[in-house]
């Protein structure tokens, strides 16, 4: 499934060459302009990689009216530009397509990044009908993804110029994280997160909407969402957590406060665009505090150990979670944290709504 298309500019998105066109740069290619808009509506984001000065990217953004999540302009290798875009957006290379009219550029990228889908402009014109470009689930958050990445560029530009600590920048940006119980209306977004998140996903398997809706009515389980906004924009629901409060006792009621038991989190997931914005710290702190208040002695979180979820495991380590033993290949490690002693503090930008 393609999440991002990286476009060349000269003779690809533009019907001509930007620097050789004198006073008036070329118009956008009308067919590809339609493709840009259609893929954007499907929640696929766009980026630019061009051997041009940065003004070319600004010009393309203006004439197409399409938000670009990242723009790499310069005279280095296009594969390096793609690597920076992939890192910047927190994507896997297999979720990226690259469109360029130049055979040498396509060959260079295909050799250096074999997982990237490399396309001719003519291919790209047909791409909207291909299955790789048709997201299985699409929600309001998904459709707004392109605009949110553009907000992210503005946020990052200001963060780079800020110079203080991350926490100070989060406060200055007016960051607000709201953690609250999920309702039925949020089930599609939680399902979408379970499909789309990989770096920040302790489980690894998608969870169906029916299953999620069923868990809403379970006395034993809790389903929680995390919303994120700041003065640059509203990201909506960026995180979700499934909580298992433990076995019911003989009377069918989960044990109340004081009973020796643990909370287990079978699934914790967060959109990678929330990386570095204090959401994971807030979620983990809220979980520890709520579990302790519910009488749990330990919070357990099975988590697959992969190269890609290092940021998630760092957040777990920072919140005091440790894995008992190295897991067998393909099985999750059981990260756990005792709930006596000092619990992680809730950051001042986070609010936790009451949940039953």
């Amino acid at each position: 499934m393609i999440k991002c298309v990286v476009w060349d500019i000269d003779n690809t998105l533009l019907a001509g060459t930007y620097l050789e066109s004198g006073e008036q740069p070329p118009e956008p290619d009308p067919e590809l302009l339609g493709v840009l808009r259609e893929l954007g509506r499907r929640g696929i984001v766009h980026a630019l990689a061009s051997k041009n000065p940065p003004e070319a990217a600004d010009y393309v953004a203006t004439v197409t009216g399409v938000p670009f999540a990242a723009a790499e302009c310069g005279w280095g290798r296009k594969s390096d530009a793609l690597r920076r875009i992939i890192d910047d957006l927190g994507l896997g290379a297999d979720a990226v397509a690259f469109v360029d009219d130049d055979l040498m550029e396509r060959a260079e990228v295909a050799a250096a990044l074999p997982e990237v889908l490399v396309l001719l402009p003519e291919d790209a014109a047909e791409a909207p009908s291909w299955p790789e470009f048709q997201p299985a689930v699409l929600t309001a958050e998904g459709r707004r993804r392109g605009e949110m990445y553009a907000q992210r560029r503005r946020r990052q530009q200001e963060a780079r110029a800020f110079g203080g600590s991350r926490d100070d920048f989060l406060r200055r940006a007016g960051t607000q994280v709201l953690i609250a119980p999920a309702g039925l209306g949020e089930v599609p977004r939680l399902h979408e997160l379970s499909v789309r998140t990989h770096q920040f996903n302790t489980g690894g398997d998608p969870v169906g909407e029916d299953e999620l809706a069923g868990l809403l009515g379970s006395a034993r389980h809790r389903l929680v969402t995390a919303r994120l906004r700041d003065r640059f924009g509203d990201d909506g629901i960026v995180g979700g957590v499934l909580i298992d409060r433990g076995e019911a006792n003989d009377s069918g009621v989960p044990p109340g406060p004081g009973a020796a038991r643990s909370w287990t989190v079978p699934l914790l997931m967060m959109s990678c665009r929330a990386l570095g914005r204090g959401v994971l710290d807030a979620l983990l702190a809220a979980l520890c505090q709520r579990a302790a208040a519910d009488g749990a002695a330990e919070l357990r979180m099975p988590c697959l150990v992969t190269d890609r979820n290092l940021p998630l495991r760092l957040a777990l380590a920072a919140a005091g979670f440790r894995a008992g033993a190295a897991p067998r290949p393909g099985e999750p490690a059981l990260f756990a944290r005792p709930l006596d002693g000092k619990l992680p503090g809730l950051p001042d930008w986070a609010t936790v709504a009451d949940w039953p």
């Binding site: 110079g163 998630l312 495991r313 894995a323």
Partner: protein, 105 residues
């Protein structure tokens, strides 16, 4: 600055510390990386026993990942692959020791 240029800069610093034990060079290199990834210049002169998580440096998932990527570039040690629990990230000194023991010779 590219990753390659960063590695070269780290290499020059290590060469300048030639007479001191390798661990000291690693400590100085780590403090420099920490200051860069957190954007806090004051961290370039922190004490070795400073905690990297929580009230000390306050590493999070983003800055922690950047730190470990830089460590791999500069020292050739993949901490994440060798330390499941990331216990080596307890303090600046414990991370420096972990790296020093594994420095490619």
């Amino acid at each position: 600055m590219t990753a390659g240029e960063r590695s070269a800069a780290g290499g020059e610093r290590a060469a300048g510390d030639g007479e001191r034990p390798a661990a000291d060079g690693v400590l100085a290199g780590l403090a420099g990386i920490l200051a860069r990834v957190t954007g806090r210049a004051d961290l370039s002169v922190i004490a070795p026993e400073t905690a990297l998580f929580g009230d000390g440096v306050g590493l999070d998932s983003l800055t922690g990942t950047m730190l470990l990527v830089e460590v791999q570039h500069q020292f050739g040690v993949d901490v994440a692959a060798e330390d499941l629990n990331l216990d080596s990230l307890a303090t600046l000194a414990s991370l420096a020791a972990f790296i020093s023991e594994r420095l490619p010779s």
